[in-house]
């Protein structure tokens, strides 16, 4: 498979990413994140506004991320990594993102109806405030499996978006 298809497969197969953030002073933080993505490979996740990673993002929206399966063998290991910029999802996109997220993470409609937090919670001003965030990818890489040493290769994001 070419790199783009493999990247698609990795993204599709995994529900979690590792998200790295830092504040303005360069203090770093990493956390696992459940995510979803849209047709343009913008990624979405939700978090509490007072969480460390969101406080970092408020100061510095530039992040890096990695997505990989933990059930693969060392011999076959592969993964996606990249950089992006994160911002809060606007109110007028909230319903669409909410559906996108929970359709993927809770595909069973009955489960979703029962357990998915309602949309209104993501606009509520009651503490603690939960919000959706969008990551627009600026750089994307995967392991270069064509060479024996551990290097990455760049993936063209536009190619990713247009590939079938």
């Amino acid at each position: 498979m070419n790199g783009v298809n493999k990247v698609k497969e990795i993204i599709e197969k995994n529900l979690f990413m590792s998200l790295a953030t830092s504040d303005k002073e360069g203090n770093v933080w990493s956390c696992p994140m459940t995510f979803t993505y849209d047709d343009d490979y913008n990624f979405y996740f939700f978090s509490l506004l007072d969480s460390d990673h969101i406080q970092n993002i408020a100061e510095n929206p530039f992040v890096s991320f990695s997505i990989y399966s933990t059930d693969q063998t060392v011999a076959d290991m592969d993964g996606v990594q990249g950089r992006g910029v994160v911002g809060q999802v606007d109110d007028d996109e909230l319903e669409k993102v909410h559906l996108l997220f929970f359709s993927r993470t809770m595909p069973n409609p009955e489960m979703r109806a029962k357990f998915a937090p309602p949309v209104c919670l993501f606009r509520s001003e009651d503490f603690p405030q939960m919000r959706f965030f969008k990551m627009s990818v600026t750089e994307l890489y995967k392991k270069d499996t064509d060479i024996p040493i551990h290097r990455r290769k760049t993936i063209d994001i536009n190619e990713l978006r247009t590939a079938k």
Partner: protein
Amino acid sequence: MNPYDKYAIEEAVRIKKKFSGELVAICMGPASASDVLKQALALGADDAYLVSDKAFAGADTYATTRVLSETLRKIGGIDLVLCGKQSTDSSTSQIPSSVAAFLDMSAVNNVVSCEAEEDRIKCRARSEYGFKNITVGYPAVLSVNNEINVPKIASVEGLLYSRKKAVITITNSDLGIDESECGLNGSLTRVRSIYDTTSETHRSNIICESEDFDRLFEVIDSFRNAAGEKKDEITEYTFTKNDNRNIMVFLEEEHNNHKLLCKAISLAIELNTNIEAVTLCSRENTSKYTDLSSMGVIKNNIFISDNAWKITEKTIADLMIPLIKEKNPSVVLFDSTVYQRSLAPYIAVKLRLGLTADCHDLQIDENGRLLQVRSVFEGKKNAEIYSLSDIQITTFNSKIYMKNFLVKGIITESEVIDLDNDNISNRYSCEMTKEETTNFSHDVIIGIGKGVGSKDNCESIADFARKMNYGICATRAVVDMGWMPYSYQVGITGEYINPSVYVAVGISGAIEHMKGCESSNTIIGINANKNSDISRYCDYLFVQDSEKFIKTIKEM
């Protein structure tokens, strides 16, 4: 960006969306302030203006107000100005009222919610004793506090917009202000000195390691009993009427004016002068203010109304201004209440007086001038400031003033002015809702800091305090986390307290908080770190985890 400004921007974006208007962000500062304006663009501003010029350097509040007001005039077509409640350096909250005065706009301060309509805006504003619902027309200036909304974090689209959109710089040549009226030259106050605040630790600083909490409650009870009924020493003084320029004091109904008057007395003694008061009160309480002889008031101008609480700051200012011009006092003294922190800047701008706000000390210097001392840089430093204007005007935080006076030798002459005769009280739409104010009069108060770890733990401490008839308060960090309401906040941006015993649980000892409670008779700290800042302020420090304290009180 000043955290309070984020609330202002968020509210502005919401109003803009409702009316499809245009939002501009303005910042006065050096070139580096462009970063803040870029943030404003990312958060939803359409345009951003940096007002920057070497000529503006050294500007005090008056000179800053002038520049900002001229900028607003230059941009033109402004219906609504939103500001954060206060800045992070001086925290005086003067600019919104001052700009409103300059531009003859309505002003509402401390707004906690608002609803904009086509021709007016309905605001709910926090007052000293509850909330006021005020409706004003456009153009208007609002200052908003952190209860008004939950600010958004910039969207990806906003970030992209901010990268493309240039910040527009406005210089003095665009504004056309004479250089003699800019910056330091145009300022009406001067800073005499700035110095570090050192904790005058007349405290025992006893460290109790490995002590259990039985000892804590023994200490609390012993100091509580020793303090007993607080007997404030009263100094008697005999005034004589003289022709020296008076000190004018504003008295606000429902506020404890006693401490402000005591401070006025102390100044009047030093200046060898008399005190004249301006009082705003409801008709039914007029008699409480007609005789203030024992508080040294030689003349009281009492403005009365059936609806005194409806009288806006602008209204009373318009009544006081001709009075001040006529009486020509040497000092005009206000208290640092919500109302008077809006009133004083308005008067200061209209009369072109140098105002210093939120002073915690007032002294007379060697030249007979009023030296005004206030905290700056979040309490880390003190500034000594004096007014260049002939009439010196200030707001004073009387809550921490401890001296008591009883004056003899003069009789108050009162003049009552009925505002209802001129229909003044009905000119503005204003309703007030009183809320139960937080009671800080307990002789033992427990202070709750971020170290307690959770909202649940705050509630456990509050339950315990209620059981023991202790009071409670909180640091700003606890309030910002949403664990306790703003009304419990103690510190330079909250209340000042002075109980017999103050127990600080999970409080690091940041100066901004300690300023609000350092007048307590005895301070006891509970903190796992014996080297934390709180240890400098304590008479006793129990080196224990807050969790252990909370576990202990739950079992009691």
